[in-house]
Subunit: 145 residues, 2 copies
């Protein structure tokens, strides 16, 4: 098994609402692939997908039981500059996201806040000067010493 992952798929209750949040709200361009049941976005080296919660649960062999409590997962968008953090959080809020934590100085030396998408999926928006982002948008941990 190689050390990589390929897709992140979020289960959503209203596919059109979620497509609109990411496409119209955040400005991402969906792939034409998918034909109504699923929406894919090329997100640098991975694929980001939106799929009905019920369909995703069924595909995974699970019941689509209504979730409650903290889901224990966060995605992150790392910015290229500190100022971008507030700009991206403001963009997400205008698009209908709930800001769960406004940006603040982080103990690890960066600056970050969080928003929740229309289904409550968490995104951190972070400026981390220790993590390199290449021109294509891939992020790299600092090399081991």
């Amino acid at each position: 098994m190689e050390q990589r992952l390929s897709l992140i798929t979020l289960g959503v209750t209203d596919l059109e609402r979620s497509r609109s949040f990411y496409a119209d709200g955040l400005g991402w361009t969906p792939s034409t692939l998918g034909s109504g049941e699923v929406v894919f976005f090329q997100a640098a080296g991975v694929v980001f997908g939106l799929y009905g919660r019920d369909a995703l649960a069924a595909d995974a062999g699970l019941d689509n039981s209504e979730g409650s409590g903290f889901r224990g997962m966060s995605l992150a968008y790392n910015t290229r500059s500190r100022d971008e953090v507030d700009a991206v959080l403001a963009l997400a809020e205008r698009a209908g996201a709930h800001i769960t934590k406004p940006a603040e100085e982080a103990f690890w030396g960066g600056y970050s806040g969080y928003f929740a998408d229309p289904d409550g999926h968490l995104w951190e928006v972070a400026w981390n000067p220790g993590f390199e982002i290449d021109a294509a948008g891939h992020v790299r941990l600092p090399p081991d010493p």
Copy 2:
């Protein structure tokens, strides 16, 4: 906002158990960064992180309420060949994962199954002949027509 994401962080109840699942079980090499509170893995163009559920909830400004029901999220590992799907699911099972769906032919023309990691986080293991994986492990959607 660029069309990309940087990290996927899973909240876990026992960091050492989860580190061992991914490092010893699946064979991934953690970064030396992180010093006990968090474990990072370079996963091709993104970073995959493990962090205490309570710490992740607090960082996001949320209560660490015990979760229940379907969490509505899946990660995916796309294989380079069909045979690898069963091999990766078997590796995950030996490492302690629960197979929620053994691999089967998928309606979209591939072959896939699912496992749940020690905290129940879902991974699909899929062979999808329509999605290209480059030498570095980045996945690419087919170009729009």
